[in-house]
Symmetry: C2
Subunit: 278 residues, 2 copies
């Protein structure tokens, strides 16, 4: 009998990341951690086999803590990815009328993703930021005035809050991409992606043009290109690129070798099977 | 006698944006607004002459609400820019010992920018997110347990909080770039920048390579290149580029004309004098 995989994730229970863990491996035993860096430590010290973290949202963009961990942090690699639709629910104590709500709790990203809905339906509610959507439900239940929270339906069930409305997000294609972090990346499958980051010593966007030419000239498709601040100076960036192919494919290996000669820093986050929407 | 310029900004008083307004025009009359979009409305309806908003921070990256306003919102243009060093202060009620602090209030970006300091000096403090650094000071003063706030020194003076420590940010080169928004951009000065954004119908980063070639081939330096999510789908981006030169310079005009033929959307945010650090 094989042991269930131990999956660490950014908790508490009831967050979207917990849903991603269930979608990735419904038989795994799930261990919540209070921060992404503690998820990473748990993987590194073998308290869990793999860790799951959000990396990008179609509305909010890159998830800074996860990207910073890959860029600056540990030696963990991306072993897998998955993409989940994100839906937000309005939750409150039983008997709450939406018109009476004076305070609305949620994570700032969720408040932002429901801004049009809130302006139309709860115009008198004051938004208050929480550290997670699950924490927002707890704060709402403890609040002294009539309040509501934006969270997953499951967070409402876990904490005994009532569902007022489902699917209150402003943009219908709200998707989050999650990565599975582990001590090693994934063997070649033939339909893979590779994530890298690089930066330059000079603030010379001309080098970016040259680097992109290494991929374009070899017909390597890029699935993503994104910039992040270096934290050192305005106008200097770390570029994050997802390319199609495995780092062990000959053409990818050749391109990365050329790129390494042009940049001041190149880090390979790993190669992993390309996620196909079910 | 000339009337003082009326400058709208993202309030309340005591925020970093207020400091930027004073640095931009110390004789202006300053009018705080509760959101960037209300600053924009005030400019459009002529209740203020210009509006000031943060657009980019060296640690946190692009400021989404300001970028979204330029990308999706009104027809306001960038008329000027300025760059200010950002410094965070630890504030508390009189007589508070740092070791006793159990809750630390601030805007999530400020909490993030002081993460190492907080872990070392206030390891037992629970971070709580506020909607602005100035609001954090008010929440701290009203808190039932021993608390502190991260905000500007001026916010502490305005609200009667005590300064515990100055300059608690983790990264020494913490700079924020602010833009001045108005109904028209700035006439040519000979040392200018132009901000644009563009996107593609296909998720084809190969087009980015071709667009960058239009600038590289004309020796137009890029001061910045950044990507933002389109909000429509994962892997599709709006690219934000700041280039050196004025949109009325012949070489810039020619490049933008070629770019417009290759992209599905091109928006010029304006040309304005390049900011020189004092």
């Amino acid at each position: 009998m094989t042991q269930a995989k131990r999956l660490g994730y950014l908790g508490p229970a009831g967050t979207n990341t917990e849903q991603a863990c269930i979608a990735y491996d419904s038989g795994a035993s799930l261990l919540p951690y209070p921060s992404i860096s503690e998820v990473a430590s748990a993987v590194e010290s073998n308290r869990v086999d793999e860790g799951v973290a959000p990396i990008e949202n179609s509305v909010g963009g890159g998830v800074s803590v996860t990207l910073d961990l890959l860029i600056h942090g540990s030696g963990l690699l991306i072993r897998n990815e998955l993409v989940l639709p994100i839906t937000h629910s309005l939750l409150a104590r039983q008997g709450t009328e939406p018109a009476d709500v004076r305070v609305i709790y949620s994570h700032p990203q969720a408040l932002e993703q429901c801004r049009i809905y809130l302006a139309e339906r709860l115009p008198n509610a004051q938004p208050v930021a929480s550290l997670s959507t699950a924490a927002a439900v707890e704060e709402m239940l403890a609040a002294p005035v009539t309040s509501a929270a934006i969270a997953t339906e499951r967070a409402g069930e876990l904490h005994g809050a009532c569902l007022i409305e489902r699917g209150i997000e402003d943009y219908p294609n709200n998707m989050t991409r999650f990565v599975v972090l582990a001590g090693s990346d994934h063997p070649r499958t033939g339909d893979d992606k590779t994530s890298i980051c690089f930066s330059f010593d000079d603030d010379a966007p001309g080098i970016l043009y040259s680097v992109l030419g290494e991929f374009a000239g070899r017909n390597i498709n890029l699935a993503k290109i994104e910039s992040r601040p270096t934290r050192e100076a305005l106008g200097r960036y770390i570029f994050l690129v997802d390319l199609e192919g495995h780092r062990e494919d000959a053409v990818v290996r050749a391109a990365l070798q050329e790129v390494r000669r042009q940049v001041s820093m190149l880090k390979i986050f790993g190669s992993y099977p390309r996620y196909a929407m079910p």
